[in-house]
Amino acid sequence: MRYEAPETLEAATALLAAEMGIARVLAGGTDLLVQMKTDMVDPALVVDLKRIGEMRTITKAVDGFHIGAAVSGAELKEQVELKQHWPGLVEAANLIGSTQIQGRATLGGNLCNASPAADSIPALIAANATVSIFGPKGRRQLAVEDVVLAPRKTALDKGEFVVSFHIPLRAKGMGDAYLRFIPRTEMDIAVVGAGIGLKTDPSGVITAARIGLGAVASRPLHVKAAGDALVGSKLDKAAVDKMVDAVRAACKPIDDKRGTIEFRIKVAGVIAARAAAIAYDRART
């Protein structure tokens, strides 16, 4: 196994594109090293992206936040402004693993590990995030919900990697939240996760809503119908019930060691409703 730590995007792409064997990018490493340890992957090349400046910084511009894909969860949490704008997203990122994992784990890694249960993805979907991808053909943008295609499979081509996330600024009347269900209070992979982003008008009527779900299908979902169900309401019971029905209808989960199909479908609705209440509160304050 070779280890490289390039300092530019171009150099990183060149290394990844040229490798004939298995190449892996290393950001926080909290998934990659486990996969290597358990013999799930035996890469010929590991490219450490943490020396590339753009990947390690968070900037606030007029069009929103640009979050480097290799910024750790612990660093994200310390960004007061980002937390004020998108508390749900930061909370989601901070649910990934323990304090120790937070010291290393990144948004880029959580996305590109391509687990249906990744905590940050539903929250990123809710926040209407896009990703900036760099590769042999240069840069391209993709909506966050279009990156993961299936478990362990992304839309990235050979030589490509995610550089940063773009998240719009929070306008007045917007709020987000992410909740997940796990059997313990910490250290588990989400059995179900739900991220909600809402926009309300001054009277409190929801004018737009985005709902992302995790661990209920082969990839994280953007459930448009669920968001639409809330639009025009003040999060009254009828609208929430409609949203919950849409959430449950979108779930195509599996039975596994973490939960049953019935449980996941049921609890997806419960968690989405609870997250919606938090997001609505945040939108109104």
Binding site: P183, R184, I189, G259, T260, F263, V270
Partner: protein, 773 residues
């Protein structure tokens, strides 16, 4: 909430017993200096790794190691061919009786691989990466056989048979057909039919529990070196190094004197480190390679190949009269033993009804093999499983009888003179006192909120003594060296040091405690069965008293007085009685300085088979809150009340209570071995084998009840096992009182609880009482 100690008998005037000094090994353990199993290294050591069966059940047609052996850097490979077969013979070594025919097959598969993870070969190589590469080059020709995991499947007619020719023992007449049932046991008292005839209320329920792992944080590890002349050394994380020595000598055909075993610091065991896995392999590899071999298990290997405890299916039936007298108990327990016989079903049967004074009892147990790792002891082996079932039924009976659950238990509680459900009469025991302490505890009276419930359960463990050697040497400056042979797994050095200091009337600082290797001390049975403070403590007292006697004799000689004219008080000797004041007192230090001239070194030792272990009863109170929409249970409050006999070091007694309770909380709520239909374990890691984490829990309050054990010089009972017996019952009962529903299957994980909630809602169950906010 501060911990309390309830003194129920007049307290002798102790200076040190009952205080909370720092442990002698404490600084080493907070600085990283303490060396655990994997922290020992030797120059030139090789890395040993194990090839494990990917199949739950397969004939091993052949093993070809030639390609692996040819890999540069590979120094030795061992397979079944390197271990002589052992005949079927039950030997009391380690936990319960073991059969070396099975032990040799468990450490290295012979005819068959009997579970996924079963060792098939082991490699020693220059580096971990070479060893890993070598494992991939070993060709094993498996003939895959159908597997069986569940107790009912394993007992069903026509089930795949793990051990051809195995006939169930304990049946009269013996069955003609082979089966997966290794043994049937039965314990009976009185006439249950007659008992049930007198009952006004009878509750009979079926229960299921899953296999759970001890979950010690330190994986198994050892370092072995065998010299060309056959003299061997092994450093190993174990609960019993003399047991390791015995097993290794037997499996490797070596003389016991050739093997020196040093118990490293041990990172948790809970029963799981009372047997051998890596040790014989490491010795065999080292013998073959002529170099030291270090072996450590990965966490994955720990889960797949080392002892969980049994999963079980049970039927429990208890009858009581209107006024709350239990008149009959009947039960049937089927425990999974894993690939080889030896589940703790017998103690499970004996413990089940032990807290209660009942005239008519019958309980039958089955020891059932299946294609899972062989179970190892786990804290009060067998007791928590049957205890959960019995305490659930007791709670339901109390509800049916409209009796307070503590009052109901008090009315039937075992006490001194009660004929235990397993036969003999109890001496002084503290169940009544513990129940009374629960009744008067503010926890019992605290108000509950919506969706919360409170549960209570009692629990019991026998405790044991056993073979023990202790030696105390008086150094020339008056300090002492104390050697014990039971590994210190949770503060033993502290309690032994305290007992010695109390006896000798000196400060603990003057005594250094060492856990001696097998070459430096006589035989010791292992740390387990809650015996180490009891047994090694007895040894310490005897050895200390021998020192006192010798010191008095030396002073008597010096003063030319009869020995009985000397008294030893607070670390000094002085003339007593008529001779009082004739000579100034001599300190231990002064006597020590003269030892060489007055007869030689002063050493006190004790070699005993410690008898007189006394049972410990505990009572747990637990409050839970159940989320009506997700089925998630949160432990809101928890109190452990238990009879310690006497707490030598109360902080470590509390620690045992708290730790046992939390292991039980894990068992009750989330822990389980999850298998796929392919017979492979799906959650062999701490990510999905969910032991409790800090944020899952409240503080665990404790009450130490002290009903001294008259057979121990300080009244000690064992206390480590009992705390894991009541939690599952207490939590199940609490969830019942929160939800109005009964749960008869562990773990009470969210999907299971939510399914029950939904079912209750669907049928409009009148008992159901959770409310959505």
């Amino acid at each position: 909430m501060q911990e309390t100690v309830k003194k129920l008998t007049p307290e002798p005037e102790y200076k040190i017993i009952g205080t909370r000094p720092q442990r002698p090994d404490g600084v080493d353990k907070v600085t990283g200096r303490a060396r655990f199993g994997a922290d020992h290294n030797l120059p030139g050591q090789l890395t040993g790794l194990v090839l494990r069966s990917p199949h739950p059940h397969a004939n091993i047609r052949s093993i070809d190691v030639s390609a692996a052996m040819a890999l540069p850097g590979v120094k030795a490979i061992v397979t079944r061919d390197d271990f002589k077969d052992q005949g079927s013979e039950f030997v009391p070594a380690g936990e319960m009786l073991i059969n070396y025919r099975d032990v040799v097959r468990n450490v290295m598969a012979r005819e068959r691989a009997l579970y996924e993870g079963h060792a098939v070969a082991a490699v020693a190589a220059l580096s971990p990466s070479i060893a890993k590469a070598a494992l991939k080059l070993i060709k094993v020709d498996y003939e895959i056989l159908p597997h069986v995991l569940d107790v009912d499947e394993a007992m069903a007619p026509g089930a795949p048979i793990l051990h051809p020719g195995m006939i169930t023992a304990g049946m009269d007449p013996a069955p003609k057909r082979e089966s997966n049932v290794a043994k049937r046991v039965e314990f009976a008292l009185g006439d249950v039919a007659k008992g049930f005839a007198a009952a006004d209320v009878i509750v009979e329920r079926h229960f299921e529990t899953k296999s759970v792992h001890q979950g010690y944080i330190e994986p198994h590890a050892c370092l072995a070196t065998v010299a060309e002349d056959g003299q061997a050394d092994i450093w190993v994380s174990t609960q019993g190094h003399w047991i390791v020595r015995a097993h290794c000598a037997r499996l490797l055909g070596m003389d016991i004197s050739k093997i020196r075993v040093t118990a490293t610091e041990i990172g948790g065991g809970f029963g799981g480190k009372t047997v051998v896995y890596l040790e014989p392999l490491a010795l065999a590899l080292s013998r073959k390679a002529g170099k030291p071999v270090k072996m450590t298990m990965s966490r994955d290997e720990v889960f797949r190949a080392t002892g969980p405890t049994s999963g079980a299916k049970m039927r429990i039936k208890i009858g009581a009269t209107k006024d709350g007298r239990i008149v009959a108990c009947d039960g049937e327990l089927k425990y999974l033993a894993g690939a080889f016989q030896g589940s703790p079903v017998a103690p499970g049967c004996m413990c089940a009804f032990a807290p209660y004074d009942v005239d008519h009892v019958k309980i039958v147990g089955y020891d059932v093999v299946s294609n899972r790792p062989k179970v190892a002891a786990y804290r009060a082996p067998g007791g928590p499983i049957s205890g959960y079932a019995v305490e659930s039924v007791i709670d339901e009976l109390a509800s049916k009888l409209k009796l307070d659950p503590i009052a109901f238990r008090l009315k039937n509680a075992a006490r001194q003179g009660t004929k235990a459900a397993y036969g003999p009469k109890f001496g002084p025991v503290g169940l009544v006192e513990s129940l009374q302490a629960a009744q008067s505890h503010d926890h019992w009276k605290a108000p509950l909120k919506v969706n919360q419930g409170r549960g209570i359960a009692a629990g019991f463990w026998f405790n044991i003594g056993g073979e023990t050697t202790v030696s105390i040497a008086l150094n020339e400056d008056g300090t002492l060296v104390l050697m014990a042979g039971t590994p210190d797994i949770g503060g033993l050095r502290a309690s032994l040091c305290m007992m010695a200091a109390e006896e000798l009337g000196i400060g603990m600082d003057a005594i250094r405690v060492t856990i001696a290797d097998t070459q430096s001390l006589g035989y010791n049975f292992l740390t387990g069965g809650s015996r180490s403070t009891f047994s090694s403590g007895m040894g310490v007292v005897e050895a200390s008293r021998s020192i006192v006697k010798q010191v008095c004799e030396r002073a008597a000689k010096l003063w030319e007085l009869p020995t009985d004219a000397i008294e030893y008080v607070d670390g000094s000797v002085r003339p007593a009685g008529a001779n009082a004041g004739k000579h100034p007192p001599m300190t231990l230090k002064q006597v020590a300085a003269m030892a060489g001239k007055t007869g030689g070194p002063i050493v006190g030792s004790s070699s005993i088979n410690a008898h007189g272990a006394a049972p410990s009863f505990g009572v747990h109170l637990c409050d839970v809150e159940v989320d009506p929409e997700t089925g998630r249970t949160t432990i809101i409050r928890y109190t452990v009340i238990q009879d310690a006999g006497r707490a030598i070091h109360p902080a470590y007694v509390e620690g045992q209570y708290q730790g046992g309770a939390v292991q039980g909380i894990g068992w009750a709520l989330n822990e389980e071995y999850v298998y796929g239909t392919d017979g492979k374990l799906q959650n062999a890691g701490f990510l999905d084998y969910r032991i409790p984490v800090a944020s899952d829990l409240p503080m665990i309050d404790t009450v130490i009840v002290e009903v001294p054990n008259p057979a121990h010089p300080y009244g000690v009972r064992g206390i480590g096992e009992t705390p894991i017996v009541p939690p599952m019952g207490a939590i199940a009962n609490a969830i019942t009182h929160a939800t109005g529903l009964r749960f008869q299957s562990l773990p009470m994980s969210p999907p299971k609880v939510l399914a029950a909630i939904d079912a209750a809602r669907a049928v409009g169950d009148v008992n159901f009482k959770l409310k959505v906010a």
